[in-house]
């Protein structure tokens, strides 16, 4: 341990630990305690009920689809914002932050109204037979909206800082645009992409406000896991709420671990000899 030269460790660390314990650790601990007190059989019965399983499926698949489209769109958007000049670019750059700044409930009702049968986009899509609201597609749209900034904002700074000499070196060695993108640029963006993707996927899995308005919330069809936990609470079925919430909590922890592992792997070339 380094000798402490600066003052303030007891006070600052004291506040930090107290806050973390009271605000973060205590409630999460209480939730885990409650879920654990159910006993394995009861716990398993709740989390593997067909309605719960259906909610995992629709949540995970929608989040996956939203994240996949978010990857393509986010990468394209980051690329366009960093590499090209065109009128309105600064406006688009600012607009990227809207999903972060806009409360999820507001996003939820706005998207629902937009994609409703009589909405601006909904009416156009209805004419070609596509329904968005009250279907898994609507869940995907809401998840895409709320998680959009993650990929853009993690990739953008890395793309900006990418040493132009790397691209020039690849060009001087005869690489075509496609080859250079796939073999040089994309691998260098991979750690940032993975970070953005996992943040985006985690956010989608836990998204509540934006989704519940557009989803229709039909049990076993368009009911997401977070909503199921909420419904169990409203039914005063606290054990079930605790069990299902613990599944979401556990998933979040797994996502954190996976993210860290993937990033460490993608950055293995950074390791010092």
């Amino acid at each position: 341990m380094r000798r402490r030269i600066l003052p303030g460790l007891p006070l600052s660390l004291g506040i930090t630990l107290f806050y973390v314990a009271l605000i973060v650790a205590l409630p999460l601990g209480a939730l885990i305690f409650k879920a654990a007190s159910l006993g394995p059989e009861e716990y398993w019965r709740i989390v593997s009920s067909s309605r719960a399983i259906a909610s995992y499926r629709v949540t995970a698949l929608s989040a996956l689809a939203a994240t996949a489209f978010g990857l393509v769109f986010g990468l394209a958007l980051a690329w366009v914002l960093v590499r090209y000049e065109f009128p309105g670019k600064r406006f688009i750059d600012a607009l990227v932050d809207l999903p972060f700044a806009l409360p999820t409930a507001v996003a939820g009702i706005a998207l629902t109204s937009l994609f409703a049968q009589n909405g601006w986009l909904g009416s156009i899509l209805a004419s070609v037979g596509i329904q968005v609201v009250y279907t898994p597609l609507g869940i995907m749209v809401a998840m895409f909206f709320t998680s959009l900034p993650f990929v853009v904002r993690t990739v953008q700074p890395v793309l900006e800082d990418l040493d132009p000499a790397l691209e020039e070196a690849a060009q001087s060695l005869g690489g075509s645009d496609g080859t250079i993108f796939l073999r040089v640029i994309l691998p260098l963006l991979t750690p940032a992409l993975l970070a953005g993707l996992s943040l985006s996927f985690a956010r989608s899995l836990g998204e509540f406000g934006a989704v519940i308005f557009i989803a229709g919330n039909r049990p076993s069809s368009t009911e997401i896991t977070a909503l199921l936990a909420f419904i169990r609470l409203e039914e005063f079925n606290y054990s079930a709420a605790a069990a299902i919430a613990s599944v979401l909590l556990f998933t979040a922890f797994v996502m954190l671990a996976v993210t860290n592992y993937l990033q460490a792997r993608a950055l293995r070339y950074m390791a010092r000899a």
Binding site: L13, F73, A76, D97, D161
Partner: protein, 296 residues
């Protein structure tokens, strides 16, 4: 003299690729980001400005606005104090469990707000750890302001700290050590040496924290009880109006939060011009840059 192109093309500079990508981004950006924003204001003023004003003036709506502002006035300063303390402890000292603490602080970021709300129920609810004791002491935490504030603090706990920690890490300890060696007290060192260097990043964190507190829906909807005119914050009130088929009322209330979002974005951009925000992005420096730093 031959016509010389100004600049050798970089990867992706071919006009076909360039315009395809721009068109793709602008098309989906307009449909999925810009259009929802426009919908809010169109719907809010669908029945004219008079109706809009009437809706906003409803006692329930005004109380929801009041409660939202009050929550932010309590939760944001507390979170700011926590963020500064955490950043100071983590960046100025080495101690056992430092890296673990960093991870714990970031946890609320990856947890569903509904889970946070449910978790609070099992601490302060009747079926929770302290519920029975609180009830016999007649202290109301859930379905009241304290619960709303606590849940808001949970979801925004990392906001200020994650802006400050990377920045203060990069700035190192030299300045503070110099000030201390010249005889300055801890508070003085913080106020005159540290704070001026982190003020924009601090404000940046506070602005984002505030936006999130005022807009929080999932966690608050669990712990507030949604009592109309009493524990309904503005986002919850929007849901209530919407489910009452009062679409214009819901969008009128939503437009207030949308304006807040726009103000937040403008403030964010202004602060980014002063260098804030950049350090708060996920700590993934370009590998090339890292290599260059090592060689030089």
């Amino acid at each position: 003299m031959a016509q010389h192109p100004a600049k050798p093309p970089r990867v992706g500079d071919k006009p076909a690729i360039r315009w395809t990508l721009i068109a793709f981004v602008v098309f989906f950006g307009s449909l999925l980001v810009l259009a929802p924003l426009l919908v809010i204001f169109t719907q809010a003023f669908a029945l004219g400005i008079g109706h809009f004003a009437e809706t906003i003036a409803l006692p329930d709506t005004r109380h929801a606005i009041f409660l939202t502002v009050l929550t932010a006035l309590i939760a944001v300063p507390l979170n700011t104090i926590f963020g500064i303390a955490a950043a100071w402890a983590i960046t100025k000292f080495e101690f056992w469990g430092r890296r673990f603490l960093l991870i714990v602080i970031e946890i609320p970021f990856s947890i569903s707000p509904v889970v946070a709300g449910v978790a609070y129920l099992f601490v302060y609810g009747l079926q929770g750890l302290f519920g029975p004791a609180l009830q016999s002491a007649e202290i109301q935490i859930l379905f009241a302001l304290p619960g709303i504030v606590l849940a808001s603090m949970f979801v925004t706990a990392p906001f200020v700290a994650r802006e400050l920690i990377p920045l203060m890490q990069a700035q190192g300890r030299d300045l503070e050590e110099a000030a201390t060696s010249l005889g300055a007290s801890g508070w003085r060192t913080f106020l005159t040496v540290t704070l001026p260097n982190i003020r924009w990043a601090l404000l940046y964190g506070v602005v984002l924290c505030n936006a999130r507190v005022m807009g929080e829906f999932g966690a608050v909807s669990v712990v507030s009880g949604k009592i109309r005119g009493q524990t309904n914050t503005l986002p919850l009130h929007i849901e209530l109006l919407y489910h009452d088929y009062n679409t214009v009322g819901a969008f009128a209330a939503a437009s207030i939060l949308a304006v807040l979002a726009l103000v937040t974005i403008v403030a964010k951009l202004a602060l980014e011009r002063r260098g804030a925000g950049r350090a708060g992005r996920p700590a993934l420096a370009s590998p090339t840059v890292a290599i260059q730093e090592k060689t030089s």
